[in-house]
Symmetry: C3
Subunit: 466 residues, 3 copies
């Protein structure tokens, strides 16, 4: 790692080259592979409509999914972006790199997911559902970003995104298309995958001398408030996230509601345990910013099932508890014993709650029956019609999926970590982690500010306005 301290962090050629090459490749692939789907194509949509125009337009998937899409979009760009601004000197990078890798990932994900999930005569069909799925995949990359936050160059992050999006699509294909399991809100595909992938990457990129940047690896008063913008948006829109691609009607409605109650219960658990683990009974912003969201992660799989508000609240309460305890007791151990430096504590917000969500999903699926779901059963569990239906085996497949996801994530993270370790990406030296100044033009701060304030409140101003 010693050579990193002498490695140039200048992005003048590396970043433009990578961005332009990637975008050109994306444009070429989109030009050859991507087509409008039935609901976005002028000819196809108007052919398919069975009746007069105004009558059927409301059946366009746009009206069922676009409000949810926009909520998911806000979570990806504002939620993840601002959640990570808690670091005192890394706000530009948090929001900015989040913006960059999300904008890249959603394009790359459209191709990878389209390739695995449904080529139509060799073409990828796009519409609002593919946009949501691309945003979901992007979310997974941003979770991993949380683990390496402050310790990576934008070039490293883009390279990570290339590999992670690809593996995400493979894992999603295995789970949803081969094993045929349920995971609408992505407890496994998004959260577990993104968390363990990121943890393995940060393990491989372990920096023994990171304490040289320790003074920057913390928040200040205002940065914690900016981070709360991220937290609150994630919390509010999580019901939309989990329900965004469930079936129309009762599943979408039920998923949103289950998530709402899970999050509410989770929030009370978070405040309770945050005060309890502090010697003076003081609340810790790190817990409130993160653990209060674990309830959304933990109903990502079971949310569309007949979990009931009661069940959702139990799951949310457990998730919040686990998450706070993880921040307090597990994160320090992970760093000291396993050499996993997890900047945002994604293991506590996405890792453990994701695994919990997978388990809850497996149990809830195993308990499903036509007595409870009636004719709605096939709208939640897709293979009922095909005769493959059996609650117990369904529960088993859900559990297998968790194992597959963990394996894919850890293996993928390992490989990707070693690729990111090459000394060619302009990674920050140990002395300058968590520092915007390396990659951004940073304006002068408060000195000028105070001086200006004095000018502003001088007599001259008073005179002018009199």
């Amino acid at each position: 790692m010693a050579q990193k301290n002498t490695q140039s962090t200048n992005m003048r050629l590396r970043l433009p080259l990578l961005c332009i090459i990637l975008e050109v490749i994306l444009i070429i692939l989109f030009g050859t592979l991507v087509e409008y789907n039935d609901d976005t194509h002028a000819m196809l949509w108007n052919e398919n409509r069975t009746d007069s125009a105004t009558r059927n337009d409301h059946e366009n998937e746009f009206y069922y999914r676009y409000p949810s899409f926009q909520d998911v979009h806000v979570m990806i760009f504002v939620g993840f972006g601002f959640l990570m601004t808690f670091l005192q000197r890394y706000g530009f990078s948090s929001v900015g790199f989040n913006f960059l890798i999300a904008a890249f990932s959603l394009q790359w994900a459209t191709l990878m997911q389209g390739f695995f999930h449904g080529l139509h005569h060799g073409k990828i069909h796009v519409g609002v559902t593919s946009m949501i799925n691309a945003d979901f995949c992007t979310g997974s990359v941003l979770i991993s970003f949380g683990a390496v936050l402050g310790k990576t160059s934008p070039v490293q992050l883009l390279v990570m995104a290339i590999f992670e999006v690809t593996l995400f699509a493979v894992n999603e294909f295995i789970l949803l298309s081969i094993l045929g399991i349920n995971d609408a809100g992505g407890s496994m595909t998004i959260h577990t995958f993104g968390a363990y992938f990121g943890l393995m990457v940060t393990r491989v990129l372990y920096r023994p001398n990171l304490d040289k940047s320790k003074h920057r690896n913390s928040s200040v008063y205002h940065s914690d408030l900016f981070a709360m913008i991220g937290t609150i948006y994630l919390w509010m829109f999580w019901p939309s996230f989990n329900s965004a691609i469930t079936n129309y009607g009762d599943p979408q409605h039920r998923t949103a509601m289950n998530t709402y109650y899970s999050l509410a219960a989770c929030t009370l658990a978070t405040f309770a345990f945050s005060a309890l683990v502090n010697p003076e009974g003081k609340l810790d912003m790190v817990h409130i910013q993160n653990a209060a969201l674990a309830g959304g992660v933990a109903v990502g799989t079971a949310g569309e099932m007949m979990l009931t508000a009661f069940g959702a609240m139990i799951v949310g309460f457990l998730a919040g508890t686990i998450s706070v305890l993880g921040y307090k007791y597990l994160t320090p151990v992970l760093e000291s014993k396993l050499k996993i430096q997890d900047t945002c504590g994604i293991h506590n917000l996405h890792g453990m709650p994701g695994v919990l969500g997978a388990v809850v999903g497996a149990v809830t699926a195993a308990l499903a029956s036509p007595d409870v779901y009636g004719h709605g059963l096939q709208r939640v569990f897709a293979d009922v019609e095909t005769g493959k239906w059996n609650p117990q085996s369904r529960g088993g497949f859900q559990a297998i999926s968790l194992a597959v996801t963990l394996g894919m994530a850890l293996f993928g993270g390992l490989i990707t970590g070693f690729i990111l370790k090459l000394p060619i990406y302009g990674a920050p030296p140990d002395t300058h982690c968590f520092e915007d100044g390396l990659y951004w033009e940073v304006p002068g701060e408060e000195e000028g500010h105070q001086e200006l304030y004095e000018v502003a409140t001088s007599n001259e101003v008073e005179k002018l306005s009199s």
Copy 2:
């Protein structure tokens, strides 16, 4: 009050105990009382559908109400939360306690409102409409929070929420179910109730020595910008708030539009009077942050009626005017003469505009007639069909409802205030009101920041990136 200064503010046991006990009670009650309604239940929704699946799913109430729900949700968590961050040293508590008591209140409100408004064979049925109503009730608690902001512990706030939610549900039951009046946007049920409840609580909790914390009871430059995030979100989404639970179709559409115009007119009045009441003609952020919203409050009752954009604009203009004048001239008098210490000035934003809204609603209802509404009359005034319809008596019932609401709020606030006065909740001493440090781990501020900045701009960084 003297003993308060020696009362421990340590939350280590009190807050966790209260949160955990409350959440356990909530979970048990949800387990025994709450069921999915027809639109969220897998069996019931798929039984009830009369036709092929895709055709009828759009009639699920989810698609009519969920976008409005999310806007209301943003108002509750971002709007109220950030509006109160204007205090220089109370940002964590403003957003954080807002988050905590809202997460509790929406669960408790689901039970209380369900209990009063519609038990189905002893069960409470939940769906997106109950979620909106729970958020509405939560809004009322957050209004009261504004009056006691900075002077209460989180335990006090939770206790206040327990009582206020309960009384809110009783008052709402009397107004909507017994008197059968209209109040879709809650000028009475939400704003008037929340304001006068909170004012009475803060009156009972009067602190004669609050000026010991005077230096903290004000804003700084950045905190005012954070507060504007809250203001603007409340302003933008108020049309969704007022229309969220009106009938489908024209009432929902009309309510949103009336609110939009009322707020626009209110904003011009706010800027006009804010400059006018200042000797140097300078605008005051307190007015802009608060009074510009009064137009939304004041059309909370009449918004769904045929108020016309013209009428809405007059109401909005009056509301903005009253509100600014209240901040300037009434708030100081309330404190000095009536011993009402109203931190956020909720009397000006929710109290007076709420009463104005109730009066406007009574007048507009009294003027309603089939000549204007046609067949749409019964969609606004529910009891037209039942033969009870009479515009004048309807107007009278609306006026009676205002009196009931004021009585319930003042009486409820009085009782609750005395309960909150018990010296067991860890309330802050007079010397440490408006201070996050009592209940939160507060990170170091600018000193470290500036030092870091110097590091960041040092030659070393320049060298690295060359």
Copy 3:
């Protein structure tokens, strides 16, 4: 210009008088001219419904357009408002004046657009579509505001809005009603018009001694983060902006998706060229905050057409590139050679990308054919049915529209600029541009803050919580 330095900036009478007079005029005109449309009127909506109530309510335009409206609303008030908070001492004015002139403009635009676009028996009919159009027109005014930001009094801004809204409505009428062209997302009507109008105004208001305020015409660390809130919201919701008033069904769906891909590609171009044009390869927040949005502007016309994701990405990539290069190389030349002081660089974000969007729209329209659009052709190009359809002439009309828009904007800006130059509006002196203190009560800043912090972390607090 010398007399400006002695001109009083006191707003005590000017601002209230103007606001109150304008609002009274608006209220009178609304009272005499504005009516509910078929979808908001209780009688008309319930007459027009052909079937049982619940079946047809979903066809109310509210459900097709209101989620888009709210996204547009967020862009206008949060997006534009916070984007301009990048200035270190002008945050109150950026958000506050944005709020004021938007609230005025949307009312005035309702009247002007209603007057030109569809009087029904002498009355203006309003509903959610007119609300979106009013917000669009407001957006144009806010673009111009960006050019004169920091150099104008609120009275000047309101006067500018009066004229700009009026001319916007005339130009829109010529383009959409007379020439019958397409411009759903407003590349021409909103962005090109707003940009060149604003540039001409700021040219006429040229201040040779503006460098006296140079030290305030820049950002600080936190103000750049506030500005990113604006950027990200504009970026996320631009798909809603461009699709808000397209036809229902496939056009709305397709427009949102084309915009999504254009913006993603634009973001990669922005990061690439921002690093490339900096000697040290450092990213510049000005570029990220602004140029990343150019992709939304540039598909404002062609977005609803069969542009394909491929085409959208090429356009977005070009727009981002042009915009960054404009900020780097053109803006300084515009100021030094043409005396155009463009505070926010609107020429780079709205001007050039708007013209690009107009050209792309003309080309895409010229290439349209029934082979590609099928029966959907008439849903995009309105005059197909009328027999006037001819792709080439359509493309020609689109190009003519760009010329008309440029002419109207430059001429209108010239006249308006001279009107704004009259020394009666309380414009700031050259020495106090970019300074909130002139028009706002500005609270004390960090000094008090730090002192408080010391109090907060003192032993006393520690003792209290033990």
